[in-house]
């Protein structure tokens, strides 16, 4: 299987220490690949380096050491538009009060394919409409984005990313603002996009169970390093998670899918951890 992304010995540190943290945050010695067609989950506690990793992959930040290759080309050698034709990002949300219609926003995904063009072509529109159909927002085409619900906005932003026709789709906490029903829809949608269009997915999430259910492999980050990279059942492991997250968890096998399910031991009133088994 060929690889879409190769990250080799990548290191990065922010120039100035955040006063709160006391020392500058740094990523170190990051090496992994993303295989074509796979769904790779990136997990880790707050400030483990998940967002920094997205910024490195999309050239918002430049690594201080190491190389990042997409489809065999170093991303430092690619223009922003060339990179955006290969990697699309679905951010957590769009800015408040965005005045554009759904169709206009999705069409922006066509920008990197012809940055010098003033207006999109009929072909751009066809691709955008196909992307909107794939995420189920075609009937919202003329609706202003600011009037949408959180779940609808998420699907619109996903459609915009699909309109980029990327090799790799990066999702940043796609379910953070969604209620249960939309989370389920989101998972189904990602599966379908992955299977039908063969899109490779890098899913950054706080939700261990969502990632364990959806991903082929998981990358667990802690403190800027890789704690473990492997199949969900090898990464979602009680001892490892307890040391990375600093709290007791229990892992069971889902009877329905056979995938690992993580349960937190909530502290009781007297300060001791309750039994994780419900």
């Amino acid at each position: 299987m060929s690889e879409v992304v190769r990250v080799e010995e990548v290191g990065f540190s922010y120039p100035v220490a955040e006063p709160r943290r006391g020392r500058p945050f740094a990523l170190g010695g990051l090496s992994f690949t993303v295989a074509e067609g796979e769904i790779l989950g990136v997990l880790g506690p707050n400030s483990a380096g998940k967002t920094t990793l997205i910024r490195l992959l999309t050239k918002i930040l430049a690594p201080t050491r190491g190389t990042i290759e997409v489809d065999g080309s170093s991303i430092q050698d690619l223009s922003r538009a060339e990179l955006a034709r290969r990697i699309a990002v679905v951010p957590q949300d769009v800015p408040q009060g965005l005045p554009f219609t759904v169709e206009h926003l999705v069409l922006m995904g066509r920008y990197p394919h012809a940055p010098r063009r003033f207006f999109e072509t009929a072909e751009d529109l066809a691709i955008a409409r196909a992307a909107m159909a794939a995420t189920g927002v075609l009937d919202l085409a003329d609706t202003p984005v600011r009037t949408l619900s959180g779940g609808e906005r998420q699907r619109v932003v996903l459609a915009r990313a699909l309109a980029q026709r990327p090799r790799l789709l990066i999702l940043d906490e796609p379910t953070a603002h969604l209620d249960l029903r939309y989370q389920v829809e989101c998972v189904a949608l990602l599966r379908r996009v992955n299977r039908e269009q063969g899109t490779t997915v890098l899913l950054v999430s706080h939700d261990l169970n969502l990632a364990g259910e959806l991903c082929d492999r998981l990358l667990l980050l802690t403190d800027g390093r890789i704690a473990r990279l492997g199949r969900p059942e090898d990464v979602l492991e009680e001892a490892l998670l307890a040391s990375v997250y600093g709290c007791a968890v229990a892992v069971e096998k889902s009877p329905a899918t056979g995938r690992p399910v993580v349960q937190v031991s909530w502290p009781t009133g007297d300060g001791r951890a309750a039994s994780p088994r419900v």
Partner: protein
């Protein structure tokens, strides 16, 4: 209807409206000329040195051209500043950029004279420098984590504007007022009939500023998603911001150099167009050039005529309508582009 069709249609309609405004402006004025006399002057039927010919060809037409250009430039600068700051209240005067340009122009008056064309270029260059300094100051004061909160941006603009307005006052107090011929009148914002070479330079600068902004209209749409998202969509956000900022400052300073600081055109015109056409900068920038021209031409025609034979400053008229409009926007559409 595709966006191209819409743009062509709207530009066509605005073109007709501009023509109508030009016809109105050329026929009315404090010199009571009959419509027939105006037509004779236009067609060369009146003698070269006749009153009709001087009034129509040397006063009214050049002034109409200057008003239309200035209005278009200010409206396009407004669209540019609004897209950059993602704030519908941003505008050359509100941001203090006009005051910075005015200070530069006043300083230019103190530097020796070297013929009409050289003076025109010098004045514009100094105004451009002042506009850049004021704009950069507002940018640095107001930017918080890469964004511009509405209140911070407006306050910064007001403060920088007051600072440069004071600086202008200091200079005019220190210097013999005769060396700054007509400066008080100019500071209120007045469209003057420009001589041919000046009009040519003004046209060139306006065209340059317009081109620099309209060529980035699609990118400015993407920038509305935030800088990081724009970068991830392939937009070179740093270069985009610099180019549009410099172009908007150039448009503002050329208007200030030729007509003085005229406020609120860059606020009113883009807002009306946005209500009619939506948020797409590819439609807004070209239509703002024509729509701004119509607006300021009508305002200037009113300035020439409402208290004839005396004249109002066109800047007074735009502020008279602009200030309440600003309040309306602030109260109803805060933070929404």
């Amino acid at each position: 209807m595709t966006r191209v069709d819409r743009l062509v249609l709207v530009l066509g309609l605005l073109g007709v409206a501009l023509l109508a405004a030009v016809i109105l402006a050329v026929f009315v004025g404090s010199a009571r000329l009959s419509p027939l006399a105006v037509i004779q002057a236009l067609t060369g039927g009146a003698g070269a040195g006749s009153t009709e010919s001087v009034v129509v060809l040397s006063l009214r037409l050049p002034r109409i051209a200057a008003a239309a250009l200035a209005g278009g430039a200010l409206a396009v600068a407004g669209v540019g500043f609004q897209a950059l700051t993602r704030n519908p209240l941003a505008e050359p005067a509100v941001l203090g950029v006009s005051s910075g340009a005015a200070f530069g122009v006043v300083i230019a008056q103190l530097v020796g004279s070297g013929g009409a064309v050289v003076d025109t270029l010098k004045t514009t260059a100094f105004g451009f420098g002042g506009a850049l300094v004021a704009g950069a100051a507002v940018y640095l004061i107001a930017s918080v984590h890469g964004g511009f909160p509405v209140q911070t941006l407006l306050l910064s603009g007001v403060i920088v504007g007051i600072f440069f307005a004071s600086a202008v006052t200091v200079v005019t107090s220190l210097v013999d007022i005769n060396r700054l011929g007509g400066i008080v009148h100019w500071l209120l914002g007045n469209i003057a009939p420009l001589p041919g070479p000046s009009l040519l330079i003004f046209t060139g600068l306006a065209a340059l500023g317009f081109t620099l902004i309209v060529s980035q209209a699609r990118e400015l749409n993407v920038l509305a998603l935030g800088e990081e998202a724009a970068l991830q969509l392939g937009v070179n956000a740093e270069r985009l911001k610099l180019q549009v900022f410099v172009a908007a400052a150039l448009l503002t300073s050329s208007v200030v150099a030729f007509s003085g600081p005229i406020g609120f055109v860059g606020l009113i015109v883009p807002h009306i167009l946005r209500m009619l056409l939506g948020p797409d900068n590819r439609l807004l920038v070209p239509t703002a050039m024509v729509g701004g021209g119509i607006f300021l031409l009508l305002a200037d025609t009113a300035a020439r005529n409402v208290v004839a034979p005396a004249e109002l400053s066109v800047g007074v008229i735009t502020s008279f309508f602009g200030a309440p409009f600003f309040v309306y926007l602030l109260r109803t559409r805060r933070g929404v582009l």
